[in-house]
């Protein structure tokens, strides 16, 4: 394994952590927006209770991934900055509005109209942001973003409404909603748990449908990636991911929410890993590779070395955070 591969692997891990943890946060916002039925307020309270202490920490994984990218693959970061200029700005608007709306609602006046307004902003931005990020992944895969002769050719606006960006955007949103529903089912009980279990089944169905749709769309729009996904390198990972998804659905159906949670985390991690392995060696297919954009060895070594003391501090702290707020019995 080369240094640049190690750095790419670490970046993937950061993205997986972000997808699982922040993805669940985004999904929580979606369910807040679609809270319904007699237990609507209790649903919103459960979501706030789940997200409140951990959301700040969850979203740092994105910054981690960004720092890794510009430290270890600076020209790739630059190309992404130019090629994804407008969509990434929209992602920022989504992230900013989401965080702001969340605290404005939580700490603001008790005026119910204002709370509903901020709740709507929170929910809408929680839905739009994962969609945009999924669409960005599509653009990295289908060759819409070219870098030729050192010049970045950004995708046309219409490219963002193509079949693959739309499918992967929707899939990212559904995945976040699914993960959140499963996590919330674990963190609630009785009737509320049933509410979230049903929501998980619904969004899980959407995930399955969109994943199935993604197959022909990938073949049509990103043939290189499609054939790479069934190669001997990526296929085992993709299949393991699919099995985890099925296991998660089955566990959910049977009411085994804890098992469903483990399986859903495995599913997200494996799908992202499968995509990365298939996408490899490209950061941006087909022009930008990890190897060609790698920073000097000394920087990558420093960054990799810093993970040891860094995670030695982080992991116990994260464990403490989740233990204090997520362990049973709840008060």
């Amino acid at each position: 394994m080369t240094l640049s591969d190690a750095a790419a692997g670490l970046t993937l891990l950061a993205l997986i952590a972000y997808a699982v943890l922040a993805g669940a946060d985004f999904g929580g916002g979606v369910w807040d927006l679609f809270a319904s039925g007699p237990r609507r307020d209790a649903q919103r309270e459960a979501i706030a209770h789940a997200i409140g202490p951990v959301w700040e920490a969850n979203h740092v994984w994105l910054i981690f991934a960004i720092v890794l990218t510009f430290s270890c693959f600076p020209p790739a970061f630059a190309a992404l900055g130019v090629g994804l200029y407008l969509p990434l700005h929209l992602v920022l608007v989504g992230i900013t509005l989401r965080g702001a709306a969340y605290v404005f609602r939580a700490y603001g006046a008790d005026d119910p109209r204002a709370r509903r307004r901020w709740g709507a902003v929170f929910g809408a931005s929680s839905a739009v942001t994962p969609w945009l990020l999924g669409a960005c992944l599509a653009i990295l895969s289908n060759g819409a973003l070219r870098v030729r002769g050192g010049v970045v050719e950004a995708p046309r606006l219409s490219a963002w409404f193509g079949p693959l960006p739309l499918t992967l955007g929707a899939l990212a949103l559904a995945a976040c909603a699914y993960a959140a529903a499963v996590f919330l089912a674990v963190e609630t009980d009785a009737a509320l748990r049933e509410d979230f279990r049903r929501r998980a089944l619904a969004s899980g169905t959407a995930v399955v449908a969109l994943s199935a749709l993604a197959v022909p769309v990938l073949h049509a729009e990103a043939p290189r990636l499609a054939s790479s996904l069934v190669s001997s390198r990526a296929l085992p990972i993709v299949l393991a991911g699919a099995l985890s998804a099925l296991a998660s659905g089955a566990a959910l159906y049977a009411g085994r929410v804890r098992a469903a949670r483990v399986a859903s985390i495995a599913w997200i991690a494996l799908e992202l890993a499968g995509w990365s392995v298939a996408q490899y060696p490209f950061v941006i297919a087909p022009d930008v590779t990890f190897a060609a954009t790698a920073a000097p060895d000394a920087t990558i070594r420093f960054v990799l070395a810093s993970t040891a003391p860094g995670f030695a501090l982080l992991l116990p702290s994260l464990w403490l955070l989740f233990r204090v707020f997520k362990s049973r019995p709840r008060p």
Binding site: F70, S71, Y85, F302, S317, L318
Partner: protein
């Protein structure tokens, strides 16, 4: 609006916005730790109440700081991709370490804000300490990145065709600017937050609202503010002398000093005429600049005329910002000393004189004014370079189109957020005071 101007404007606006909340994210946790520490020591519930109420404000401010900081990490690549392509290998290490520090702050602030009921009082205070320490540490680490941009050590690495083929990942930490910048910018956070909080409490005391609470809050705020403001003058001296050594053109611009000479005056204020190379008006303090720079009244200070015109920053902007910063800082140091004198001489819980309270209210925004002015000095003073001597700002900017639109979009977004935050903070202070009674 051309791309470069729009990109600079968007970055400046994003940084100026984030800076306020970053300062609060560094200063507020210190105030919280002090207040809660006093509660543990004395058992007086008033200190706990101060910590609880200010924690609520901190939650909102920290969140806005976090999202605006995320925006900046993106904007580095969105607005300055060519700069990041060159500088990524050197700055990466500083941001990586800052990332861990910020991550710890985010974790422990979650524990602090939500753990009041779940942790014992002592445990709760303990989790506040890493918030304060990590906050300051992440600020110090991110300043290393800026320090490298100001004074990159010559042995940072090998630049070939505008890219580092080999690099020393510790180069940013070896910048001569780092230590003095880190101290000065961290103190600035404590000073600005301290005086802002003091102003809020002073205002409430003038109105006679919740007197016992606000006397306590004022004491905590002013202990941080006054000590910080006194130290800041010393720190500023170190920093100015370092700048004179390593960035003489910036120093010359700060002082609107054109002709290299001995025994140079300090000019406060005035209107700079760059074409004529002179300053009209302004107050002259004889030989003070030479004295400041080298602690000798006859030392040589290099003037702007020593440098080619296209290597000079906007002198009027840098000079005015510098004078605003120093005036505000001096006023705050004096205000802090005055408060200490009156407070320590007077009776423990006796009334504070109204003129002092009014002065505190008047002075409360000055810390943030000085903070922003100082960053304008150092960033505008480095122009036309984005990395001094290595890359000009215009060579680092994006080639994407649409920058004026994103600048407009983000200005509107941040203006809106700023207004909401102000309204919320007002409601928080008013509401709680009304509950607690006068």
């Amino acid at each position: 609006m051309d791309t470069l101007t729009a990109a600079r404007a968007q970055m400046e606006m994003s940084l100026a916005f984030h800076m306020i909340f970053a300062a609060l994210g560094i200063g507020m946790p210190l105030v919280l730790v002090i207040a809660e520490g006093l509660y543990l020591r004395t058992g007086d519930a008033r200190w706990r109440e101060i910590a609880r109420r200010q924690a609520r404000a901190t939650a909102v401010l920290f969140a806005i700081g976090a999202v605006s900081g995320t925006a900046l990490s993106f904007e580095l690549g969105l607005l300055w991709p060519r700069f990041m392509q060159m500088a990524g290998p050197v700055l990466g290490p500083t941001f990586a370490l800052e990332g861990y520090a910020f991550f710890l702050e985010a974790i422990f602030i979650g524990l602090y804000l939500y753990g009041w009921e779940r942790l014992t009082p002592r445990q709760h205070w303990l989790v506040g300490v890493p918030v304060a320490v990590s906050g300051a540490l992440s600020g110090v680490l991110v300043v290393a990145a800026n320090a490298w941009m100001q004074t990159p050590p010559p042995d940072s690495g090998t630049l070939l065709g505008g890219a580092f083929t080999s690099v020393d990942p510790t180069a940013a930490f070896r910048s001569p600017a780092w230590a003095s910048m880190a101290v000065h910018s961290t103190l600035a956070c404590y000073v600005s937050v301290g005086f802002a909080l003091a102003g809020v409490s002073a205002w409430a005391l003038l109105k006679g609202r919740d007197v016992r609470y606000h006397r306590g809050a004022l004491d905590v705020a002013m202990s941080v503010a006054a000590i910080g403001a006194a130290l800041q003058g010393v720190s500023g001296d170190f920093l100015a002398r370092m700048v004179a050594r390593t960035q003489p053109v910036k120093l010359a611009a700060m002082e609107a000093h054109f002709e290299t000479a001995r025994g140079v005056d300090i000019i406060v204020g005035g209107v700079v005429d760059e074409a004529a190379g002179a300053v009209r008006g302004g107050i002259h303090i004889p030989r003070a600049l030479s004295l400041l720079i080298d602690h000798r009244t006859d030392s040589v200070v290099r003037g702007l005329n020593d440098f080619p015109r296209d290597a000079r920053p906007n002198v009027m902007l840098v000079h005015t910002a510098f004078d605003v910063m120093v005036s505000a800082g001096a006023a705050l140091a004096a205000l802090g000393a005055l408060f200490a004198y009156v407070r320590l001489r007077g009776a423990r819980d006796g009334d504070l004189p109204r003129w002092l309270l009014r002065a505190l209210v008047a002075g409360s925004p000055l810390g943030f004014v000085a903070l922003e002015a100082g960053w304008i000095v150092t960033e505008a003073g480095r122009q036309p370079w984005i990395v001094q001597g290595l890359m000009r700002t215009r060579d680092g900017v994006t080639t994407a189109s649409g920058v004026p639109s994103t600048f407009a979009l983000f200005t509107a977004l941040y203006a809106g957020l700023g207004l909401v935050v102000l309204a919320m903070l007002r409601a928080m202070t008013r509401g709680r005071d009304a509950e607690a009674g006068a």
